[in-house]
Symmetry: C2
Subunit: 346 residues, 2 copies
C-alpha cells in the first residue's frame, strides 16, 4: 500500500518514472533548461522575477533536486570531504569526526568516513578509494607517525595530515604540541610530590618516537628526577590495561603514571583496581586527549585536552575554506591541562 501511494500521486502530477530532472522542470515551467539552472544557483545570468517564480513553483511541485553526480562531473567538485581515521570507536576520534562533520557541513560539504583499523594497507586503500570518488580533500589521521605520503602525493588531492607532530614538507598538517602537553601533565604530577613516575606509551605500526615520551623525559630531567618505568602498548583501553599490569609489577613500582591517551588511563584504572590499589591514593594518574569519557570515569581523569574543535575547523578550512589557496603549512595547537582528581587533587 505504501507502494501504492506513490503510484497514485504519480498519476496526478509527479514524474512518471525515475527522478525529476532539470528538463522536466523546464518543460513544466515552459522555459529552457538554462533558465532553470540560473534560478537554481543564482546562475551567471539574471532571470525575470515572473519567470523565476514560475520555475520555483515547478521545482516545488515536481520535487526537483539537482543531481549531484552531474553537478560534480561538470564542476569537477563533489562538495565532499574524506576523513580517514584509525577507528571511530575511539572516543577521541569520534569527537574529532563530529567536529569535522560540523565544520564541513557549515561549508556545504558532506563527509565520507573511513576507518583504517590500524592497518596500513587499508589506509592506503582508503586514500585511493576517496581519490577515485573525487572528494575535494582528505583529512588523514594516519596510523603511521610518518604517513604514507607517496600515496597522497600520487593521488594529488588537497589533504591535511592530522595528529601530526612534525612538519611534513609540501603538506598541510595539524597537530598539538605533544611534548609540551606531556610535560605539563608530568610536572603537575611532580608538583604532587611524586618522584617515581612511570610512562604508559602508545605504539604505532611505524614505531617511531612520540613527543609525549620526550615531554615526560624532559619534565623529569628538569626536575632532577630519575626516569620511571616505561611500557609500550596499544593506545586503547586494553592496551592501557596491560600497561597497568606491567607497571604495577615492575621492580620499582611507580607512585604515579602518565598515560599517552585517555583510553590507556581507563585501562590502567582497571588494572590498579584489580590489584586492590587506589587511584590516586596508591597510584596517581594523568593522561592525554581530553575525551568526554575522562570526565565520567572514577576518579575523573586529569588530562591534557586537545582543542579538537579548533583543530577540526582549521583542518577543514585549509582544504575548502579560507585557507584553500595558501601554501601548505604545519599548524601547531596548544593543549590545556584539565585538572581533575586522578592526579591527587581534591
Amino acid at each position: 500500500m505504501a507502494s501504492m501511494d506513490p503510484m497514485t500521486s504519480t498519476a496526478t502530477q509527479a514524474p512518471r518514472s525515475g527522478p525529476v530532472t532539470r528538463k522536466d522542470v523546464a518543460r513544466y515551467a515552459g522555459v529552457s533548461t538554462a533558465v532553470v539552472s540560473y534560478v537554481v544557483n543564482g546562475g551567471p545570468k539574471r532571470v525575470a522575477p515572473a519567470t523565476e517564480a514560475k520555475v520555483q513553483d515547478a521545482i516545488r511541485v515536481l520535487g526537483y533536486r539537482p543531481n549531484a553526480a552531474a553537478r560534480a562531473l561538470k564542476l569537477g567538485s563533489s562538495e565532499t570531504l574524506g576523513l580517514i581515521i584509525p577507528d571511530i570507536t575511539n572516543p577521541f576520534f569520534s569527537l574529532f569526526a563530529h567536529a569535522v562533520e560540523d565544520a564541513a557541513a557549515a561549508l556545504g560539504y558532506a563527509l565520507v568516513l573511513s576507518n583504517s583499523d590500524g592497518n596500513v594497507a587499508r589506509e592506503r586503500n582508503n586514500v585511493r578509494n576517496l581519490a577515485a570518488r573525487q572528494v575535494d580533500g582528505v583529512l588523514l589521521a594516519s596510523v603511521l607517525f610518518e604517513p604514507d605520503l607517496a600515496s597522497l602525493e600520487t593521488a594529488d588531492i588537497p589533504s591535511v595530515l592530522l595528529n601530526q607532530e612534525r612538519d611534513a614538507p609540501g603538506f598541510n598538517s595539524i597537530g598539538v604540541d605533544l611534548a609540551a602537553g606531556a610535560r605539563m601533565a608530568v610536572e603537575h604530577l611532580i608538583g604532587h610530590g611524586h618522584t617515581n613516575i612511570g610512562l604508559a606509551m602508545g605504539t604505532n605500526v611505524s614505531g617511531s618516537k612520540d613527543g609525549r615520551e620526550q615531554g615526560w623525559r624532559d619534565a623529569l630531567r628538569d626536575a632532577g628526577l630519575r626516569e620511571g618505568p616505561i611500557t609500550y602498548s596499544e593506545f586503547d583501553r586494553s592496551g592501557g590495561y596491560v600497561a597497568g599490569q606491567r607497571l604495577l609489577a615492575s621492580v620499582n613500582r611507580p607512585t604515579a603514571i602518565f598515560a599517552s591517551s585517555d583510553m590507556q588511563a581507563i585501562g590502567i584504572l582497571r588494572a590498579v583496581r584489580e590489584a586492590g590499589l587506589d587511584v590516586p591514593g596508591d597510584i596517581a594518574l594523568a593522561c592525554f586527549d581530553g575525551s568526554v569519557e575522562s570526565e565520567y570515569s572514577w576518579p575523573p581523569l586529569t588530562t591534557v585536552v586537545q582543542p579538537v574543535t579548533a583543530m577540526a575547523e582549521a583542518a577543514v578550512a585549509s582544504l575548502v575554506g579560507a585557507g584553500r589557496g595558501e601554501p601548505p603549512r604545519h599548524r601547531l595547537f596548544a593543549t590545556e591541562l584539565k585538572v581533575r582528581q586522578s592526579c591527587g587533587c581534591p
Copy 2:
C-alpha cells in the same frame, strides 16, 4: 625513487594538467575509449589479451583512476550509502557506524556520515542532502521514535530505519526487542533480591513510549512487585547523572536501578559515588546497549547487549546486498544479557 618515477614519466608523457581521463589512456595505448572501459570493468565485451595488457600498462603509467562522478551519472548509482545518527560521539553509535562502514566497504560502498544532534530539522535536512547526493540508500537512526517518514518517502531512496521498535509499513527497519531486553535485565535484578527497582528512562523529542519502560513494568508486575520511581532525562552521561541524583533523592529510594542506556548508567555511577554510596552495595545497576565503555567502568556494568554487527550487516544488506529487491520488512534482533558486576554479581 617511488617519488621519482612518476616525475620522470610526467616529463616524458604524462598529463600536462589536471586529472587523467579515459581518453588519455586510450590515446596512450592506441585504442578507443570503449576498449579502456571494457578493460577497466571487465566490460560487456571481450578484449584481446594483448590489447588488455597495453591498456593496463597505460593505466599504470598514467595513474588513471576513473572519475566516480561520471560513473555515478551514467549508472545512476554513486556506490555510496548515507548514515544519519543523532551523535557519533555516543559510543553506541560510533560502534554502529564502524560496523556499518565495514559492511558497506565489503560491498564496495562508501559511507557518508551525518549527525543530527537530536535536532529534527537537521535530521530532515540531512536526508534531503543525502538524497541530492544520489546516495544509493540511507540508514536512519532517527531522533524521533517515529521517524519523519514523509521526508524519506518524498526523497524516495531505499532506506532502513534503525533502532526501530515497531514495524513501519512500507519501510525496511531494524531494531532489537527492547521490552524483552529490559525485562531480562530487571528480572536479573529481581533475582538478586531487590524489591524496589527504579527506572532511568531516556527521552526523545517525540516523547512517545519506549519498549524498555514496558519491559521494566512487565518484569515487576510478573514478580508481584510495586513499580519503583521513574525519571526521564537525556540518553547521555549527563542525563544519567541527573537521573541518578533524582532517584537517590526520591522518597522511596530504590535499591536497584535499570538505566535505558550505558551512558545513563555511567552518569548514575557518578551521582551514586558523589552521594558517598556504593555500586552495587547500596545501589545495584543494570543497563542497556553493550558499548565498550560499559566493560571498563567501575564496577563493570551488567548490560543488555545489542548485536550491533549483525544489525549493521542486515541493514546494509537490505539496501545494497542480497536483500535489495525484497519487500520492505521489519527485522527484530534478540539481545543478550551480559552479566558483570554492577548488578551485584561477583
